[in-house]
Amino acid sequence: MNVIVNGESVQLQDGIENVKDLLEHYDIQDKVVVVEVNGNILTSAQHQSTRLSDKDRIEIVHFVGGG
């Protein structure tokens, strides 16, 4: 399916079905993130239960510590 991640169109390979899969795909599953799907903000408990569909707009922000 085709989704928009942080403003960029991305073609997702089969097997990426929910937000948790997507974070693993980007290798940021261990980071502290805030994820929004189609304008709805998710708690981390909702990552696995939130299924992705074609044309979803996803925003991912990960926290960093440097300064």
């Binding site: 403003g7 805030v34 903000i41 922000v61 926290f63 960093v64 510590g65 440097g66």
Partner: protein, 339 residues
């Protein structure tokens, strides 16, 4: 009166009244690295009344690529960052009252500093200190602006007590160990972008234009050309330990212990004594000279090189052990030379 603020006063959302407000405000910046240098310079040029800037470190050559207040002389002399910063900032705007504090911000001190300021700018490099800032800001109802960067990536959020979620709400219950050191380097533009967001928000707060605040969690990557802004107010938690109804300010409650920290990406360990002390660096220099190794001293710190290690001790008793990431090895060296 000269017209040094004329361009800022011509900017309608600030105007003469806003400038007057700015000139009466006291801002606390925690950290005088890349974010702290740029943020402090912007605020001092903008004409705030008072600045308190706190940092635990001294200037090194690897800082000069992005930490805009510092010079080669500062690195050569191993000047504490806040001392070098104060020198430069006073030359930029002598009408701002600047307090430079060489310290590793502890809970006790943070509470004391927070009570007297209008705003806190986060320019630290670690979450342990940020969570303490978050608690102290909630305790005294002071706004603060989170900012951080790594590589070409940056992130920022403005936290207003009683209005927005706090940092603890946003990070959730994730252990802070999950937010480990970033070793991906950093480019100057990412620093300045974070600071531009932080200081724009700061100016809005200082002139009292809270309607113009951004209210979003911002992140960007200047190399990958990405940008994201998320509304996060729904993440505010009623049972948050830092801003909720039955808050306990958990991050302000560990005190009075010797603290050690591996410094991010620096092959160094910091050791802070349990109780503040004042070290006689001159006497210590004489003792260490008899131990072999090289000793160098300036009015603020003493540097002692031995083998592949270098130990730097500050007047407040803090020691940074360079050449190791191993806490027990660092402690051994600390006790061998400093008792």
């Amino acid at each position: 009166m000269n017209n040094r603020y004329s361009r800022q006063e011509l900017f309608t959302p600030i105007g003469k009244a806003g400038q007057e407000n700015i000139s009466r405000k006291h801002v606390l910046i925690i950290g005088a690295g890349a974010l702290g240098s740029a943020g402090a310079e912007a605020l001092v040029r903008a004409g705030i009344g008072q600045l308190t800037i706190v940092d635990r470190d001294y200037v090194e050559w690897s800082n000069l690529q992005r930490q805009q207040l510092y010079t080669e002389d500062d690195a050569r002399n191993r000047l504490p960052k806040v001392i070098a910063a104060k020198n430069r900032l006073s030359a930029i705007n002598s009408s701002v009252s600047i307090e430079a504090i060489i310290a590793d911000a502890s809970a006790l001190e943070l509470k004391e500093w927070t009570q007297n300021v209008d705003l806190i700018i986060d320019a630290t490099d670690n979450f342990e200190t940020r969570m303490m800032i978050n608690d102290a800001a909630q305790m005294y109802g002071i706004p603060w602006i989170y900012g951080a960067c790594v590589g070409s990536y940056g992130i920022t959020y403005t936290i207003i007590p009683k209005k927005t979620p706090c940092l603890s709400c946003l990070l959730g219950t994730v252990p802070l160990g999950g937010l480990t050191c970033d070793t991906a380097g950093i480019i100057g533009p990412a620093v300045n972008m974070v600071v531009s967001y932080q200081i724009s928000e700061a100016l809005k707060i200082l002139v009292g234009d809270s309607d113009s605040l951004r209210n979003k969690l911002i992140s960007f990557d200047l190399w990958k050309n990405q940008y994201s802004a998320i509304k996060v107010e729904k993440l505010k938690k009623k049972d948050c330990p830092s801003c909720g109804k039955e808050r306990t300010y958990p991050y302000l409650s560990f005190e009075n212990q010797t603290k050690t920290a591996v410094l991010c990406g620096r092959d160094s360990v910091q050791i802070r004594p349990a109780h503040p002390v004042v070290r006689d660096l001159e006497a210590l220099e004489k003792t260490l000279q008899k131990q072999g190794g090289t000793v160098q001293r300036n009015p603020y710190l003493l540097s002692f090189s031995t083998g592949s290690h270098r130990l730097v001790i500050f007047q407040d008793g803090r020691v940074i052990v360079h050449g190791t990431k191993n806490i027990s090895e660092a402690k051994t060296l600390y006790h061998r030379y400093f008792g």
